[in-house]
Symmetry: C2
Subunit: 223 residues, 2 copies
DNA sequence: ACCCCAGTCAACACCATGTCGACTCCGATC
DNA sequence: GATCGGAGTCGACATGGTGTTGACTGGGGT
């Protein structure tokens, strides 16, 4: 998970224009207010004034801490993806041990984290359409995950556990895309969706069949 | 494809408040303007004034034809999904003939239609986050496709061509979701994406392995 | 005693949306 | 051939959210 940590790393000061004195708690208050308000209404229905008042400041003061409403969401998203990266870290290194169990662990962890921050994730999906910054950040995060999966698939093929087929990168993109969209529908309760308690196993099944052509991949190296 | 044709059917007058005289061409002009403007800037950057001026009318007059900017897009979306329904109709009835070829045909047709109206589709994906009407329409369309795929999978299992496994509905949801998200990324050129010329085959591969556990499903009935 | 600057906000400028009321044709009616 | 009604049209206004300006405060450093 080391490559291209640029997004979070290269933009160390997204909120708060610079400087570092007292008002740190105000910044935190804005973030907390956003997360709280998101719990019962969509991002688009929250005005900057709501955020400001919720944090006990006036609207112009809000701009002292964040350049826009979207920047608040971006900071929130940053946290979630960082958490996900941490949770996912290393799981795929031990794939050969027990492929099915490891893939399931990976998917289950993502599920737990996205589910735990569903309001933020859902809001980001909403604004991704209109905000290039969110789009860019999400694209970078996704790229890391795609690369990790791609490498894992190539490793499984190398040890003879998975058959050749699609370019590993395309496969990784397709599977990650599926997860994203399926989780979105599940958490949003929007349109045809997989039940929340089943979603990990449904996704796992498609991943395993797409990668191994079976739902019970071999544990030991083939040769 | 018969069930629940409500969306288009039950709201016969989304544009135009009622009546049916000359101004039909104005309505068409608005639609055409929207499609044209969408070609070089995102939906959010197009104002009602742009639409009105493009159609040679004033902003208040616009409201005579459509209740909002989103309603224009909704009408455009309606056309595209109708076209897709037509193109997809019946393909799955002849699945047993040659499963691989039929599934490929289905995916390729959707690809062609979405690709041909990518601006509209992309715009809809953008506003789906903020507009409940678009969300609802898309959900209904998706529900039809999910049902069709579910039925096809069940039929393939019944004739012994596909192994049992996931509930067919969950599988259908997952695969349709994957397609939606993958196409979006491909057409938007946004983040990790499959190359446009490869996308049909990539999707097909995942569909076949998920449904049949092989990329070469059997042609003749098993017993 | 002074200055600087993080932090604060009232007031303003701007822009997009949506609404109202008045106006103009034009075809139908008596 | 007057008049009536409704489709079609738009100028002007109300509303509401965003982002900016300029002035004020208070405390830490010199």
């Amino acid at each position: 998970m080391s490559p291209a940590r640029t997004p979070t790393g290269a933009a160390p000061t997204r909120g708060r224009r610079a400087g570092r004195s007292t008002g740190d708690d105000r910044e935190a208050a804005i973030l907390a207010t956003a997360e709280r308000l998101l719990r019962d209404r969509p991002f688009g229905d929250i005005s900057i004034d709501d955020l400001a008042r919720g944090a006990g400041i006036s609207r112009p003061t809000f701009y002292f801490y964040f350049p826009s409403k979207d920047a608040v969401l971006l900071t929130l998203l940053d946290r979630v993806t960082e958490e996900a990266d941490t949770a996912a870290g290393g799981v795929l290194d031990r794939l050969a041990e027990d492929p099915r169990a490891r893939w399931r662990e990976l998917i289950a962890r993502f599920h737990a984290i996205f589910g735990g921050h569903r309001d933020v994730v859902l809001a980001c999906a909403q604004v991704r359409g209109t905000n290039p910054e969110v789009r860019r950040l999400w694209a970078e995060v996704l790229e890391r995950w795609v690369r990790a999966v791609q490498a894992a698939v190539e490793a499984e093929r190398a040890r003879g556990a998975a058959p050749d087929g699609l370019p590993a990168r395309d496969l990784a993109i397709a599977l990650n895309s599926m997860n994203e969209r399926v989780w979105y529908a599940t958490f949003a309760g929007d349109g045809p969706a997989v039940a929340e308690r089943d979603v990990v196993d449904v996704l796992l099944d498609v991943w395993l069949t797409a990668i191994y052509h079976t739902t019970t991949p071999p544990l030991a190296p083939a040769d």
